[in-house]
């Protein structure tokens, strides 16, 4: 529950990395929550996109990387298109994903072997390929 803040933590390496990968300035976020409000998938997220940004900024690295929020993001860009501060939130979500996927220990989020029978035959290629791109390192 508690966060101990220091200037190193506020300018934490993790947030810097997310900013670098996403090309976005997390300090520009004024926490209006528009992204969460319009997100078609936020109903299933453990924390909203605006909270994911907040957690990242405050250096709550393991906590934010442990939630399903950015794995559930479908990059539909609704948040990006309506952000009053012009932050491309989808890029921030993707950056969080990248941080996990680029770590040495693989944390692949789909296992082909676990698909139900007949699934592979039905699902269109684009869904697979995008899925692999988003979920595999």
């Amino acid at each position: 529950m508690k966060i101990e803040l220091t200037r190193q933590k506020v300018h934490n390496e993790f947030a810097k990395k997310v900013e670098l990968i996403s090309g976005q300035n997390l300090f520009a976020c004024y926490q209006c929550g528009n992204c969460t409000a319009g997100c078609p998938i936020s109903f299933a997220m453990e924390i909203g996109p605006h909270e994911a940004i907040r957690y990242t900024l405050l250096g709550l690295e393991e906590e934010v990387l442990g939630v399903n929020t950015f794995w559930l993001c479908a990059s539909c860009l609704q948040c990006t298109s309506r952000c009053p501060k012009g932050i491309d939130i989808a890029r921030v979500m993707d950056a969080l994903r990248m941080v996990v996927l680029r770590r040495k220990e693989r944390r692949d989020h789909i296992q082909i072997s676990e698909f139900p029978e007949g699934f592979l035959e039905k699902v269109p290629q684009i869904a697979f390929i995008s899925g692999f791109r988003k979920f595999l390192s």
Binding site: I21, C76, Q78, S81, D94, Q125, F128, S130, G131, R133
Partner: protein, 289 residues
């Protein structure tokens, strides 16, 4: 006029009906889709990580090779359209990345290709009034809900496709075919996209909301521009039924399938057997087949 055409993986296999109907209709409308030789997959996602240049190589190759053949490239699949158009834009605006990628793929593409969607050809080149005149079998009385999804519209500044909150191109198309357009708020909300692979339940929920909204507003059929959306809102109806017992199914068609009907093509050439919810009873009921 002929158009360089990039089908993409899905249209080559699991959405062949989409591809075939589009080609057939083109011929009836006086233009041909000339398939790009030796095309590869576009990558299926535009990389959002700014440092991920590798993911831009496939669409860059497609663009470079298309530029050797002509000046306009068209696609049907909304995802491919998004990836290729955004990559093209990046080539126009970011000289540094352009040079890097060119260096890598050993081409010298400058971003001077026009990437258009099939619907744009219908609107801008054929013209909806002209399309209306050529319709052989108007879809009179068919209440069709146009589902845009995300990829055609967003990001708005890059896609420059239509208004991001209230697009109208699809409506214009359906009206030209004689259908009754059903306005529904979820037409621009996401279908769950690739989450049908990652988190199928989430995608099911998204699809349920979209279809529910369309039906509540009186739709008899939902029309889509994208094979991924189509899969999510058509094939996932079996999952929806399992979760929501009172859910009634609704046919989902590619816009080219509907175009095919209106242009008078034989319904057996429209690939309805690949649709999960059979549209034939509806179409027969309306006297359209």
């Amino acid at each position: 006029m002929d158009y360089l055409y990039f089908p993409g993986c899905t249209l080559y296999t699991k959405a062949k009906n989409f591809d075939q109907t589009a080609r057939n209709c083109s011929l009836l409308l006086g233009f041909e889709l000339k398939e790009l030789p030796n095309w590869t997959c576009c990558g299926a996602t535009f990389p959002l990580a700014t440092d991920n240049l590798m993911a831009l190589l496939p669409p860059a190759r497609i663009l470079a090779s298309a530029r050797e053949q002509g000046t306009v490239l068209t696609t049907l699949c909304a995802v491919c359209f998004n990836v290729i158009k955004r990559t093209n834009r990046l080539f126009q605006e970011d000289g540094e990345k352009r040079d890097k990628i060119n260096n890598f793929i050993e081409k010298n593409y400058q971003g001077d290709l026009r990437v258009v969607h099939y619907l744009e050809i219908l609107k801008q080149e054929v013209g909806f009034p002209q399309l209306k005149e050529r319709v052989k079998r108007p879809l009179t009385g068919l209440r069709a809900a146009p589902y845009y999804g995300c990829m055609l519209l967003r990001p708005f500044e890059e896609m420059e496709f239509d208004d991001k909150e209230r697009p109208t191109i699809f409506e214009g198309f359906l009206e030209a075919l004689g259908a009754k357009v059903v306005e529904f708020p979820y037409k621009i909300e996401c279908c769950g996209s690739f989450q049908s692979v990652g988190s199928p339940d989430v995608a099911t929920e998204c699809a349920y909301k979209i279809l529910g909204s369309a039906m509540k507003n009186g739709a008899e059929v939902v029309v889509s521009t994208c094979p991924m959306c189509t899969f999510n809102i058509d094939h996932k109806q079996s999952d929806i039924k399992q979760k929501y017992l009172d859910f009634k199914t609704i046919p989902v068609l590619y816009f080219t399938q509907l175009l095919g009907i209106a242009m008078g093509l034989d319904h057996r050439t429209l690939g309805f057997e690949q649709n999960f919810v059979d549209p034939l009873p509806l179409l027969k009921g309306k006297g359209l087949v």
